[in-house]
Amino acid sequence: MSAGALAHDHHHDSESTDVFGFWLYILTDCILFASLFATYLVLNHPDAYGPAFKEHVNLAYVLWETFLLLGSNFTFGLSVLSLNKGKLAMTQFWLVLTFILGAGFVGMEINEFVALAHEGFHWQASGAASAFFTLVGTHGLHVSFGLLWILITIFQLPIFKVSQIMKRRIIYLGLFWNFLDIVWIFLFSIVYLMGAV
């Protein structure tokens, strides 16, 4: 093996380690969400003081939010496929669509929070309400940062073109974006659906 090929291999190794490091960050973020879930579950029991979440939950609305986030994950997958095929414009197109769907999700969530607060289920109403807004809000904040990241990627694509650096960056973003949808599965199941039963 020539020295050049060896250096090349070494470069690949360090890239794999980079992605693994980002994966470990995602896993620690999972643990952050686990502690917020634990807080919510402990504070939100049937005899707890404060307004009942059950009377304020609008499941049809949450179902639309879920489909927006799921759809944005799918369009993100399509953008990765386009990038791997070397189609720059298509990659950008799918990323823009991902951004629109994700922004729709965040917009709906903000609207929902405002409506809840007007109905009396606000941040200071009870321990359960505080835990609810912290848990769902932390997820919403993550999605908002993801949106910013998608926007940056859309503008980076014409600069770096279809290159190894873009392929690696889109893998980071993909891990992050998919992780947020996975957290949302447990949010709608545990917080909204179980809260509405």
Partner: protein, 106 residues
């Protein structure tokens, strides 16, 4: 050559299949709660089973976790460790708080 990230090969067919399963596994629990037909306990089981299945579908079809290369194995192992920690944090908190409640009330 693409460096090995252990994130698996991306395929359109797998994405579409995953999306279809996720939509079904979302509609089932929402339907069970919005049109109540079962007892509360059974509805809880439907919600938890659907959530777990959708979680697995997303991990396999979208995250593409697999066990084919060294790097992929590292990803899976760290993933299992974090699920274990997650379980300890959530189940442990609930266990402590409920026994605390029991000991103070009885």
């Amino acid at each position: 050559m693409q460096p090995d990230y252990g994130t698996g090969e991306k395929k359109l067919s797998v994405y579409i299949f995953g999306l279809f399963l996720c939509v079904v596994l979302t509609l089932i629990p929402f339907g069970a709660v919005m049109y109540p037909d079962l007892s509360d306990a059974k509805t809880f089981i439907v919600i938890m089973v659907s959530a777990t299945l959708q979680f697995l579908v997303q991990v396999v079809c979208f995250l593409r976790l697999n066990y084919s290369t060294e790097q992929a194995k590292m990803n899976v192992m760290s993933f299992i460790l974090s699920i274990f920690i997650l379980f300890v944090v959530v189940a442990g908190s609930l266990w402590i708080m409920y026994t605390l409640n029991y000991r103070m009330m009885h």
